[in-house]
Amino acid sequence: MDFNHTEERRMLADSLRRTLERGADWAALAELGVLGALFTEDEGGFGGAGFDLAVVFEELGRAGCELPVLEAGLAGGLLADCGKSDLVEQVIAGELRVTAAYLEPGLRYDLGPITTTANNNTLTGRKTVVTAAEDSDLLVVSALLDGEVTLFSVDPKAKGVTLHTTPSLAGGSTSEVTLDAAPATPLGGGQAQLEARIAMATLALCADTIGTMDTAKDMTLDYLRTRTQFGVPIGKFQALQHRMADVAIEIEMARSAVINLAGAINAEPKERDRQTSAAKNLIGRTALLVAEEAIQMHGGIAMTEEYALAPIARRLIAADHRFGDEDWHLERFIRLSA
């Protein structure tokens, strides 16, 4: 039993943290090897294990990084599953920006039944809440081909593709993607690959949320130490102290849930998904607690866009609206535990 990360992972985390503190762009992350860490050696990377994701995304969350690394891992992973090693190589090098478009309106968090349909190497349908589509060179899109879920690559600038883009609650952008006989290249792969990669992306999001919670907690503790009311630092008020103690406890529990998931991410699908749902449910509950307590203990200042907590709190809330929320995962956990 060993709860220490390997030397390599610790080094990556340290340099990633320093790089992010300086303010990193996409090229810097690629150069640092962050994108390579998302893929196994077989896939052309040098990581790809659950704990590689855990380490990388915890730092990205801690720094509040809004670059679409998770999307590179998700869509790039699907490309790898379909044997597109040339494309994966470009993703790792930071030369090809990719994202996955798999969610459809009206399905809530379910992956199906989808209605986007392939016909003569074109796709028609609507995909929703596609992160960072605007800045992507390639979309990995799920569609029905002869009634089976199949993956396609789509150029978002092609005719027949319309993006409706807005800011995302998590930071960055999100798009509705309308496909009207849009040209598409079949990649192969299908539902099983999608589910496995979504599980990995959920792990990434959970780890990201751990880092984000750490930052929210640290900011709140700083504020409690420095903000005075009635002549004393508000961190001396016992009611707040005890609530912060509970916040700290819950974050440690959530951290353990992510460790559990990272260790189980390559298990057979039922156990993988059960652990995924356990972690995502707990992360959902904990992130809500941390966001709401951080805001409440800060008071008015937390409500302003100018103060740095606002995007952090939104990121914590947004995490529950991706890959299934607290209740969606609770239901699945119950189903998979029966």
Partner: protein
Amino acid sequence: MDLNYTAEERAFQQEVRAFMKANVAPEAAAKIAVGTHLDKADMDLWHSRLNAQGYLAGPWPKEFGGGAWSAVQKHIFEEETAYHNAPRIVPFGVGMLAPVLQAFGSKEQQDYYLPRILSGEDWWCQGYSEPGAGSDLASLKTRAVRDGDHYIVNGQKTWTTLGQYANKIFCLVRTDTSVKQQQGISFLLIDMDTPGIEVRPIILIDGVHEVNEVWFTDVRVPVENLVGEENKGWTYAKYLLTHERTGIAGVGFCNAGLDALKRVAKTEMHHGRPLIENPHFAARLARIEIDLMAMATTNLRVVAGADEGAAPGAESSMLKVKGSIIRQQINDLARRAVGPWAVPFVSEDLDSNLYHPGPDYAAKASNTYMNNRKISIYGGSNEVQRGIITKAILGL
């Protein structure tokens, strides 16, 4: 024990209801229904219609041309306002300054300002909070130093709601620094056009410009703008805080919010069935509804007590705490209800050229959730309210 309104109260309710039906602008109601902020024109229109009906001064005493509404009447009016998605009355002039002037202002001040409040000629904003003060309101630092017929005001106010529309501000200022905090505070009326006043917007967590900072640099205020006695301002400010807070629980908002939420949950699909049929969602909804049923009656108990002469002091604190929690839970569940649609995050102020891609009811779910985290912070945070309950009700 009788849980029903009296015949007179029911008649009043019918009258208000008819007024609402005839007068609430559909555009404003539509905005309110989905959580879009109103613009100044919406608010001005509502102000004038209420004034024409005499409702604006409904709670005012008869000697000031008011309707001397009972607490129950005020409650009915708030209930109907929320039920019909009518705009809230902008409270700073009508509901906050006016009672202070009526109780402590000079005859001249009353004669001059009260009609202008009703007509809408003056738009008042509130200058209480300061950046360093927070819940410790009495630690305010804005100075007013007497200089002949004027006070010279220097300092900074914050959280000034809708200050961007105001031509007047009522302020708590420190006029004596040699005494204990709560003493040495005065209540000043200031023209926003006076040189030395600068209003800076504060953008909130949902991207909306709703509050402001107001900076005072050598602002000259005539001494006749002092309300009551110098150094007694804290008393006047407290008068409002311990008085007339029967609407504090926000029961009307909660009822309207819960109704809207149920409609959403009947429309949104979960695993192919309406979300409202999902037991986990239904359980969350039912607990909130049960809590709200109990809070509504608690609110009525306090309202009825107020009409019997009981000053709803610390009971208001209970309503504030529970009311904010329930309202925030409704906002939380409304956000959950729209699922992935909560992710596109369009602020009407910052992203005014964008529209939200989801259904109308989803457009503001995240925004409203984020924005309403303020409810448990402003007007005395829930922590401050628990402190009041500790002392006044529990005797600890």
